[in-house]
């Protein structure tokens, strides 16, 4: 199971990658493995406002359907339309081709992206998945 060191994570198994004030979001390799083959992804609409910790979509696998939570606050600027035709990208490349949506987040006082303070580091997330078994 891979947990890239440079990403931020949530306890709901989303990852966040930040460039400037643009945050890319997907679900983790661990989550994809737990779900099994992903067959359908429902993503937020372009321009929608998402709120950290609130559901903004669904990830459906052969055996289950789960809410997709936004890890950040902001406006959706881009969604991964490739997933409409090939949701299995979420299993195959959860951190790259399987990304789900991008959000423009507010700036903090230093001009950096203002992220929720409770996001997990890679080490913290890895610890969480281990204790979950």
């Amino acid at each position: 199971m891979s947990v890239p060191a440079e990403l931020h994570y949530t306890p709901e198994h989303e990852w966040v990658s930040v460039e400037g004030t643009s945050a890319s979001v997907g679900i983790t390799d661990y989550a994809a493995q737990q779900l099994g083959d992903v067959v359908y992804v429902s993503l937020p609409s372009l321009g929608a406002t998402v709120t950290a910790g609130e559901p903004c979509g669904e990830v459906e696998s052969v055996k289950s359907v789960s809410d997709l939570y936004s890890p950040v606050d902001g406006e959706v600027t881009e969604v991964n339309t490739e997933l409409e035709d090939d949701p299995s990208l979420v299993n195959a490349e959860p951190y790259t081709a399987g990304w789900m949506f991008r959000v423009r987040v507010a700036q903090d006082g230093n001009g950096d992206a203002a992220l929720p303070t409770d996001l997990l580091s890679a080490a913290e997330y890895e610890e969480l998945t281990k204790s979950a078994g």
Partner: protein, 371 residues
């Protein structure tokens, strides 16, 4: 509980799931890949959670005729029968496969979640007969080899009882037949049965022999495309084949007639049987619900409990739903409150979490293998 193959599942990195008190492999990698391997080559399943109940003695056949819906006494030795055990009110307590292993020896295979219920009911119902009922679940591991390549994989490893010259070679064994023999040198009951809609075999071994048999089958089958397959693939395989699952299409509130399986009720067999009166009434009145097949016009899955809508009004409930790897669209089985034929021309949909997703009626099964 763990099956005798638990260490192998762990070594294979299986995702495990709890099912009826058993830790079972849900999938080893991709359930879709496992499903397609069974359709195109073969899959290897650990089904050791299934219940094995031995019913033996001079009156064993008569006791099962009374206890079950089928005429089990008429099953010849070496053959199997798909049947059901019903309550007095005709509700299904379980669906079963019964093997006749000898003149006075029957092995009843129950769903894991129902083993205790079936064992209890059989014990009660056999009370007046010269027959012993024993829950032998812990005495067996069950390994299934399913798929078009199954016979070719198992044949070189299987030796059917050499003392019985009547027995055909494995490849010539009839569907729903079984025989004592060995697999990879270990004693086994080998049956041409399964729950995938493919040709295949089920190998009942002693628990201590299970790892050896599994390993031999894996080695013998890998060249032919055999892969280990979990319960997730088993569920989509049986759904494509239109086979009911207890707890979804079958339950105590359903008679065999609703499930379209009235043929398992043998009213013309001699003697009384549990549920006869209620089942006869249901047979003459017609089913109160109708099992139907649906394909969904979306990638979204119509899952157990979702409503089926005809022209916007609820007309039934989904019992099982999954993506069909073979058809490439989601499929579902549902109970409808009216005959499917009466819905011709209606706009059908499934309510998927608040959204009416278009659906189409289709004949069951969704998939039939070429014979």
């Amino acid at each position: 509980m763990q099956t005798p193959l638990d260490a192998i599942h762990e070594r294979l990195g299986a995702t495990m799931t709890s099912f009826a008190g058993w830790q079972m492999p849900l999938r080893y990698g991709s359930e879709t890949t496992e499903h397609l391997a069974v359709r195109r080559a073969a899959g290897l399943f650990d089904l050791s959670h299934m219940g094995e109940i031995a019913v033996t003695g001079p009156d064993a056949g008569a006791a099962l005729d009374y206890a079950l819906t089928g005429q089990i006494s008429a099953v010849p030795p070496g053959r199997a029968r798909y049947t059901m055990i019903c309550a007095e009110d005709g509700g299904v307590l379980d669906d079963l496969v019964v093997y006749r292993q000898g003149k006075q020896e029957f092995l009843v295979i129950a769903n894991a979640s129902n083993t205790a219920t079936v064992f209890g009911a059989l014990t009660d119902r056999a009370a007046g007969y010269d027959a012993a009922v024993v829950d032998a679940t812990q005495d067996y591991a069950l390994i299934a080899v399913q798929g078009p390549a199954a016979a070719g994989i198992l044949a070189p490893l299987a030796q059917l009882d050499p003392a019985d010259p009547q027995l055909p070679e494995l490849g010539a064994m009839k569907y729903y037949a079984g025989a004592f023999g060995t697999v990879a040198g270990r004693e086994a009951w080998v049956a041409r049965t399964g729950y995938t809609g493919e040709d295949g075999f089920e190998v009942y071994t002693r628990p201590q022999d299970a790892e050896h048999v599994w390993t031999a089958l894996t080695a013998g089958g890998s060249g032919a495309g055999l892969v280990p397959a979990g319960l997730a693939a088993r569920d989509t395989l049986r759904l494509e084949a239109g086979m009911p699952l207890y707890g979804n299409e079958l339950g105590p509130d359903v008679t065999p007639f609703e499930a379209g399986l009235g043929r398992v009720v043998k009213f013309d067999k001699p003697g009384e049987f549990v549920g006869r009166e209620a089942l006869a009434a249901r047979a003459s009145a017609g089913p109160s619900r109708h099992l139907a097949g649906l394909t969904i016009e979306s990638r979204r899955i119509a899952r157990h409990g979702y409503p089926v809508l005809a022209d916007g009004r609820t007309c039934g409930t989904v019992t099982s739903g999954a993506p069909s790897p073979t058809l490439g669209v989601p499929i579902a089985m549902a109970y409808l409150d009216r005959p499917p034929a009466s819905l011709a021309g209606a706009v059908l949909a499934v309510g998927i979490r608040g959204e009416a997703v278009p659906a189409d009626l289709t004949d069951l099964p969704f998939y039939s293998r070429r014979r």
